[in-house]
Structure formats: C-alpha cells, structure tokens
C-alpha cells in the first residue's frame, strides 16, 4: 500500500546527516546565486561544481539523474525553446522559422534561463530526496515555526494519497451500481459529479473528527513541544549556514552594484 508517501530516500550519507535547515539554506543559496550572480556562466558552473557533486555525496546520483532526465531536462528544454524563439532581442539572426527569428543573443539568453531553472528544480529535488519531511518540520518547529503550519504541510503530504484511494473506492462502488465511466468524454465528465459529494463532504466530516483526535492528544497544548527524533545540528552546520548566507548576500550585492 502507501508505505512510501514522500520523495525522501533513506540513505546514510553526509548530505542526509546535515541539519534540515542547513540543507534548506543550501538549496536557497544555490537558487539565489544562480539567479543573481552577475556572471553569465554561473548556473552552468553550479551544475558542475555543486548539483552533480552533491547528488554523488548524498548517494542519490542514480535517482537524481533519472528525475533529471524524465522531468527536469524536458521542462528546462521546453523553456529554452520558448525563450529562444520568442525573446525579441539581438540582431544576429542565425535561424529563421516563418516569422520567428532565433538570434545568437536570444539563444544565449534562453540557455542561461533554462540552466537557472535546471539549478532551481535540481536543488529542490536534492533537498526533498535527502530530507525526511517530519525531521524538517520538527526542526523548523523547534526554531519557532507555528506547529499548526508544520502540521498542515506534513498531513497534506500524507493525506493526499489517502484521498486518492478513497476516490477510487467511491468510483468502484458507484460503477458496481451502474455508473458509466468508460464511454465518451462528456458522459464520463458528467458521471464524475456523483463522486464529488461523497468525497468532498466526507472529507469535511473527516477533518472535524481529525481535529478532535489531535486536540485530544494535546495539539494546542501550551507546553513547549519536544521531539521524538534528535535532529543533528553541529557546529559545522551553523558555520555552513552563515557562510552560505554570506555568499547569498555577496551575490545579491554584486547584482545590485551599479556597474
């Protein structure tokens, strides 16, 4: 069944052992530097010196490359084509397609933006794959994030597959009573309407019961919450966070600096 409900892959690696907040800061640093550092080849270099090495250090290179091939590269590639065709900059036309021109400038522009998006999505992927969601939330809650906020994020991740399963049950139940789900598109769309009632109203009732259940277990207690799992936060983590923060500031500063 739904034993695995997050992107997280359990491995024992340096990256997995980093504090969740450190990894979050690292992710943001990669993204912000890729977008703000005023040097054309920044995102390209980041892929080579940060994204790929990190996926190896985190022992998730194989999973990461699969995701990149299936998802990130097609998305970035699509963005590249759109921008290359539709960005009306530059004079040096190298390719014509009816009314669309590709100039060397628009090509360079599109290449950089596609790489920036690649860095952004890759960094987030690595973050999600190497960080257990409940560890991230416990750590952020410990640092002052409201417990309710953390709960909403985590429970949504878990409850979505459950809702999916429930929708499937309702469809099966209604099909066994003669609901048509296999003919033309419009008929099928119409036949989905009886699904909405039980699913939506059922979920609202569930939300009330769940609220009672977690309240009965002290959810809104004013005690300082504790955490079952010990979350690592070494001196190195702290150093790394400050260093990354400094890099972000330098990058944004250079970007804003009137040149």
């Amino acid at each position: 069944m739904h034993e695995r409900l997050s992107f997280h892959i359990q491995r024992d690696s340096f990256l997995h052992r980093l504090n969740p907040l450190t990894k979050l800061v690292l992710t943001l640093a990669l993204i912000l530097i890729a977008f703000t550092f005023p040097w054309y080849w920044t995102p390209h270099i980041l892929v080579l010196i940060a994204i790929i090495p990190l996926s190896i250090v985190g022992k998730v290179f194989r999973e990461f490359s699969l995701t990149a091939l299936r998802l990130i590269i097609p998305a970035a590639g699509f963005l590249f084509l759109m921008q290359a065709f539709f960005q009306p900059i530059g004079e040096d036309v190298i390719f014509k397609f009816y009314f669309l021109d590709i100039t060397s400038e628009s090509l360079m522009f599109a290449f950089r933006n596609a790489m920036r998006v690649f860095v952004m999505v890759s960094a987030f992927t690595l973050f999600l794959v190497t960080t257990h969601p409940s560890e991230l939330m416990s750590d952020l809650t410990r640092r002052g994030l409201p417990g309710q906020f953390a709960y909403v994020i985590i429970s949504t991740l878990q409850i979505l597959p459950q809702m999916q399963a429930k929708a499937q049950t309702i469809i099966s139940a209604q099909r066994s009573r003669g609901l048509d789900t296999e003919s033309s598109f419009f008929k099928r769309a119409g036949s989905l309407i009886p699904l909405i009632g039980p699913l939506v109203f059922g979920s609202l009732v569930e939300v009330e019961e769940r609220a009672i259940a977690i309240e009965a277990r002290g959810f809104t207690s004013r005690h300082v919450k504790t955490s079952l799992h010990e979350i690592p936060d070494s001196a190195f983590d702290q150093f790394l966070r400050w260093a990354l923060l400094a890099l972000i500031i330098v990058s944004i500063g250079l970007n804003l600096w009137p040149s």
Partner: protein, 279 residues
C-alpha cells in the same frame, strides 16, 4: 466526593432541533469502569464529547449544567488543559491517525511531543503502552497500512500513552474480531484496577457484563436506567425500549416463558447461560 460529577447537563448542538443530552446527572468514582449503552441517536457519543471537554468547548451549541472531573469544572477550564486529564478515543480509527507521522511509533509519540515529555521518557512510555495493548510488532509500520482493528488499537494506545486520569472510549472495538475485543476489554479493566477511571460506549453486552462495574442505559438523551451490569442488561425495561440484548439473555428469556429456565436472573454471558441451563 465523586471523581466524575455531572449535574443537570443539557446540551443542544448548533444545528439539531432538540437537546441531545437532557438533564443528565451522573456520579462515577475513581477507578470505576462504567459502560454506556443505548440505541443510535441516544446521545452516547455526545456524552463522550462532553466528558472529554469537546462539548461545549469545540462544538459550541447551547450547554447548561456542570461537568466536574477530579474537582475541576469543565466550564472553567480550557480544552488544552482538560485533555491532559481526560483522554478520548472514538470509533473511526482512520480519522484518529494524526496524518503527521510516518510510523506507528512516531504516531504514538505525537501526543507526548505535544505536551512536552522529554525524549527518553517518551520512548519508554511508548514502548510500555505498545506492550500493554499488544502492538509492539507494528512499531515501524505506517499507520495507514494497518487493518481497521489494528488502527483501533493504535488509536487506543495513542491515548493510553498520555496517561489520562479519565479514559473515555466511544466504541473502541467496533472493527475488531472477538479475540481483539476481549483483549481490549482486558486492557481497559487492568487500567481501571490501576486507578484510571473509564467510561466506555459499547454494544457488546457479553463483554460489558464480564468486565464493567456499572452500566448506564441512555435513551433520547436521558438516563433510562443504571446499575450493575447483570441487573441492567437483563432488565425487561431495556427490551421494551428497543435496546439490543445479548443472545444468551434472549435465549434464556424465551426458555423462561416455556419453563426451561429456572433461575431468578437471566444470563448475559455464555458461561452464565451454560451454568443456568445445567440446573
């Protein structure tokens, strides 16, 4: 001084027409195991919510009367203080899973994390509670991958681990097989013997007769009858008011009409029935 004291409790949900609870007066002493029976719509679940503080703190509506547990008044307390003393587990186990945890062990620790129990003590308490209800082997499973009966055990354990003074259970064995049901009644009985007060809504008359100290029959929001399990569960008043009785009681009642049951009292459990027919 009673541990639980309900004085003239009347309550109406915001959207219902009439009151769901009417003039309930009830005293329960500490360590007593009280079972509540009644047909659908009798107000059993509402009574549970009232004891656990959710009526009126969570459901709003019109509330009058006074609920006192361990000398503290519900109306003068807040819900988050109240739940520290009163634990509630209800029927649908699926909705009692927090949804924020990935394993049963974490799920059971959820309540302890919320009330700030230190990590080492938390682990000890979770392990003890799991051993008590017999779910130690489920510790690393995802709560969503369990069967209904297993989820009900997890729901019960997740409340027991918080060590409430009063345990309120609303049909906690509805999805369990007879063996599971018997074990849960056994656990609850043991908790009562250790001083935990228990109020449990149930339909399974044989087990109530065997384990509970007292039965309260609820009908249309009022207490119809209360007393020792054998007296209440075999009473004619119950059958006249549309309550279900155990199959042993109804068999013996038929037998009595035909002169085949010679004892004064009707049986509730199999053992009592066998005993009675032997004579």
């Amino acid at each position: 001084m009673a541990f639980i004291n309900l004085q003239n409790v009347t309550y109406k949900y915001p959207l219902t027409k009439g009151p769901v609870l009417q003039n309930i007066n009830l005293q329960v002493r500490e360590g007593e195991f009280v079972s509540v029976i009644g047909p659908n719509g009798a107000g059993k679940s509402t009574l549970c919510y009232a004891l656990a503080g959710f009526v009126p703190h969570f459901f709003k509506g019109e509330f009058s009367g006074e609920i006192e547990v361990d000398g503290k008044q519900s109306s003068k307390s807040t819900l988050d203080e109240w739940v520290l003393n009163v634990g509630l587990a209800f029927q649908n186990p699926f909705n009692q899973i927090s949804g924020a945890k990935y394993t049963v062990f974490e799920e059971l620790a959820f309540g302890l994390e919320n009330i700030g129990v230190p990590r080492d003590e938390m682990k000890v308490r979770v392990e003890e509670a799991m051993a008590l209800t017999g779910i130690s082997d489920l510790a690393d499973r995802s709560p969503y991958s369990l069967s209904g009966g297993q989820q009900q055990r997890v729901a019960l354990t997740s409340i027991l681990v918080m060590r409430p003074r009063l345990l309120v259970l609303d049909e906690p064995t509805s999805q369990m097989d007879p063996i599971g049901t018997r074990e849960v009644f056994g656990v609850v009985r043991r908790m009562a013997e250790q001083g935990m007060t228990v109020v449990m809504v149930e339909h399974k008359m044989e087990w109530i007769a065997e384990f509970a100290d007292r039965v309260i029959a609820l009908k249309e929001g009022q207490i119809l009858m209360e007393g020792r399990p054998n007296e209440v569960l075999t009473s004619d008043l119950l059958t006249e008011n549309g309550f279900g009785v155990s199959r042993y009681t109804s068999t013996a009642r038929e037998a009595k009409k035909r002169g085949l049951w010679r004892k004064d009292h009707l049986p509730v459990t199999l053992d009592e029935a066998v005993e009675g027919f032997k004579k």
